[in-house]
Symmetry: C2
């Protein structure tokens, strides 16, 4: 694998999702949890997946101030302090990526940037890396590249990207919000929609040009501190100004508006692990299609269920079919998979 | 209610059952738990139920050495130290009741004794008290009296007492072990069997005479310390000799052999709360026949289920029908009621 000194990685680790309650929560969201059955947290796995593609000094972790300690604990030994960029307040992906890109562009006007969420699971890594490298080769002064995953079921949990032709790399027709089941089924039949994976590749200058065009106000607010970026004054500037920018996603602020967004049709296995059902789906099952994660657990007369108990607590469970059971010291979830959606309000 | 100075109460509180795991356990068995939905533990409720019938100084709590602290905490403020009799090791009900009766007989040769388990639930108290008083009136130099509960379902969890006639007070034909479902159903049809509630009433001298006849060896072992009983030497004697006596129940040692055992057919509501199903049965249900005991709990799309969570932990449960869910800091049980029996080995 060849590294380029102009290739940069931005890992977004500021999310505070609680959809995997009671394990994930405001104080320790998904990216800091071990969910894939292995011994690493999501953010550790994310970095391991692509580390070799980038010079170590070209990697940035963007996270919220309050997750600084978790980031330092989990991946901090690999990076300098200034590679962990702290948002003083949660402001969604648009300001976060504008900040990262301004910082990198100031350092290297030829930079090409790969943006990865820190809490998604990808299993067949070689295809993923091939796609990253292909996208890097295609990122130029114009194109903003997003990854579209070939959908294999009519998910109502993901946003979709409409494309015209079934080719590997093509211009986006439009982004669409999470559809209902019928619409999603239709997408699958027509084969002209891909899942929006939230993975982006762009040249810094292309991104900044589009951004200043579509979001001049936000651009202005952060650009006025451009002199402070990558200096010891950056922190004070961000503390003062960052909380004042709009709370808006990069999809909404830029990608849905720009005429220069391309999508790379990707075939690697991808999930955002956005629900306990999707966590169950990726874990290794026993003969009854159960997953029991407990140091001292016994599961009987059950099938298609995930039972996950923290610590050394003893658990005896029986008669569960298609259930999710998650136990932590301060929360207990017991639900059929099909009821999880209707519990979402309670879970958040 | 009239007390007699010759009436004594012996409460047996040495059991170490774990059938209500994970709430009950070796270190804190059922008699020390709040199970009936109120604010009192089983042993507190047991004493409250009959306290007025006995002079305060005539009440004895028999328990194991290791439960001394729990007894003192829960009911100790009412009694003198010497009313809490500590068995140095667990030795079942025969030696326990022989010891209690020897102690009481030495103090009062005219004593009549009521023996109550400390971990059973009785709800219609007036009938219970009427029966106790009737039994006390019938206990004489010969008769050992046991309480038989009119069975209202074919329980396979209780021992039965066979009687000849369906009268209120009659001689026992025989004791029978826990039957299977078919035999139990037959008992109900024939109306000649009562549940053995483990509640006894006898004159101390009648009991001791029968005991010395059927268990002369055990009698001898404890009687040789008769001089020490109720003195400061009792403790040392028991520590030395008690662990050497046979580990055997009063039913097996005496009642199944004696020809002088009578049974009082009782109509009060009684349960030994020997399973979570029986705990569920006695608790107040909501409209969906659920019982949710949790400070911070939400139960939806569920019916006929008991969900009990200790402490301030948040619980969200859904899709449970006919389930038992019991959560404590170090144990979690999730099971359909009908599977509880087959889990018993694991629960113990």
């Amino acid at each position: 694998m060849t590294q380029s000194q102009h290739h940069y990685l931005v890992v977004m680790a500021g999310g505070s999702g609680t959809r995997l309650w009671p394990l994930s929560r405001e104080s320790k969201p998904k990216q800091f949890l071990k969910l894939s059955g292995g011994n690493k947290t999501m953010i550790q796995e994310t970095l391991d997946r692509v580390r070799e593609l980038f010079p170590l000094g070209n990697i940035y972790i963007l996270t919220n101030q309050k997750y600084r300690q978790l980031v330092v604990e989990q991946v901090g030994d690999q990076f300098n302090e200034d590679q962990i960029v702290l948002e003083p307040s949660k402001r969604n992906t648009a300001p976060c990526l504008l900040l990262a890109t301004l910082k990198i562009y100031k350092r290297d006007p030829k930079a090409k940037i790969v943006v990865l969420p820190s809490d998604h699971l990808i299993t067949n890594n070689q295809e993923f890396i091939n796609d990253i490298q292909f996208a890097l080769s295609q990122a130029d002064k114009k194109r903003l590249i997003t990854f579209g995953i070939k959908p294999h079921y009519p998910s109502t949990d993901y946003g979709y990207i409409e494309v015209k032709k079934s080719v590997r790399f093509t211009k986006v027709v439009q982004f669409t919000e999470k559809p209902n089941f019928q619409i999603a089924s239709n997408y699958l039949k027509k084969k002209n929609h891909l899942w929006n994976a939230g993975i982006f590749v762009w040249k810094a200058d292309a991104f900044l040009e589009e951004f200043t065009h579509w979001q001049p106000r936000m651009y202005g607010k952060l650009f006025k501190g451009n002199d402070f970026l990558n200096t010891e004054k950056e922190d004070a500037f961000l503390k003062r100004e960052y909380p004042l920018v709009e709370d808006i996603s990069i999809d909404y602020a830029l990608l849905e508006q720009s005429k220069n967004v391309y999508v790379l049709r990707s075939n690697f296995d991808w999930t955002d692990l956005g629900s306990w059902k999707s966590v169950y789906d990726i874990l290794e099952k026993d003969w009854d299609s159960n997953v029991l994660i407990a140091q001292n657990g016994h599961l009987s007369e059950s099938s298609n269920s995930l039972v996950r108990v923290e610590g050394n607590k003893k658990v005896i469970a029986s008669g569960l079919d298609d259930f999710i059971v998650i136990d932590t010291p301060d929360g207990l979830l017991i639900s059929p998979k099909e009821n999880l959606d209707s519990l979402r309000r309670l879970l958040q």
